[in-house]
């Protein structure tokens, strides 16, 4: 495919010749250090070991338990129910309901009159 203008042919030839003589680009000094810094910053600490079937089963079993516990805690907080173990509250319960469990008292070190 010849062009009428010989200059264009020369330009094309010279440009195509560069295809076999392209300059190479090298990584800049400290490439690994920058990569390492970035990986640490992005916290790319992931397991390079594949999960075994047993590990997968354990993961699948634990995940719903954690989610359920989260939901229960969320509901408790939402309803204003707070688990308590302080002495005053236990004494109130014992007095109100008239129950006295020595084991419980000992456990919580409650001194009763």
């Amino acid at each position: 495919m010849k062009n009428k203008n010989p200059n264009i042919d020369l330009e094309i030839k010279q440009t195509m010749n560069l295809l076999d003589n392209l300059p190479k680009v090298h990584a800049r000094y400290g490439f690994y250090d920058r990569l390492h810094y970035r990986m640490e910053k992005e916290n790319t600490v992931v397991s390079t070991v594949p999960a075994t079937p047993l590990l997968k089963i354990i993961r699948h079993a634990i995940t719903p338990a954690i989610v359920s516990a989260g939901i229960i805690i969320g509901v408790f907080i939402g309803l204003g129910v707070q688990p308590t173990t302080d002495n005053a509250s236990l004494e109130t319960v014992i007095e109100t309901y008239g129950i006295s469990v020595p084991g419980v008292q000992n456990y919580f070190n409650i001194e009763t009159n």
């Binding site: 330009e11 440009t15 195509m16």
Partner: protein, 188 residues
């Protein structure tokens, strides 16, 4: 094939092995990414992404090809993805500049450049633009063969295709390049 002991070390997360992997391959990966992206900083960023991806998925590497072939594959995919994202961004950016007219133009420093060097870099820019406008497969084959000087067989291994397919891709690519370059100089 890759050294099985080295692969094993990589797969167990050995930091020294990962460092060796990076240092032995960083130049070829940066150069390959640069072949696609034509921007030094982008090429380094994408090359870093390549090694991060390699670190994360080394357990999937089966060792039936050279590790450099596997890294080249990641580099090609990441570079092409980056180009795709950039194209999308460029559309929005050009819309923005039409409205705001605040385009920041990159002015190359040519103070120490001779006329010959300037001509050469202009030709390289023309060549790059022409390569970028090729079809993806022609672009990959030509970039790996011309920028990284990989053999046709190595390019075939990376692209997961046959030697004859790569030969055809490169030959067709060269014809298309010539046409595109010819059109460019005719319009000039």
């Amino acid at each position: 094939m890759s050294d099985p002991e080295f692969i094993k070390q990589l797969q167990t997360g050995n930091p020294a092995a990962f460092r060796r992997l990076v240092e032995e391959n960083q130049d070829r990966i940066v150069n390959t990414c640069h072949g696609f992206l034509q921007n030094r900083q982008d090429a380094e960023d994408i090359a870093q992404n390549v090694f991060i991806e390699a670190y994360r998925s080394i357990h999937r590497f089966r060792g039936d090809s050279k590790i450099s072939t596997w890294l080249y594959r990641i580099a090609v995919n990441k570079s092409l993805n980056h180009i795709k994202v950039q194209k999308r961004r460029r559309i929005f950016h050009s819309l923005e500049t039409i409205i705001l007219d605040n385009r920041e133009k990159e002015i190359p420093d040519v103070s120490d450049t001779t006329e010959l060097e300037l001509e050469k870099s202009e030709r390289i820019a023309v060549l790059h633009k022409a390569i970028q406008s090729l079809s993806n497969n022609q672009k990959i084959a030509i970039t790996l063969n011309k920028f990284e000087e990989l053999s046709y067989q190595e390019v075939a291994n990376i692209m997961g295709t046959s030697l004859s397919a790569v030969t055809a891709l490169i030959n067709r690519g060269k014809v298309n390049l010539q046409k595109k370059i010819s059109n460019f100089y005719k319009k000039k």
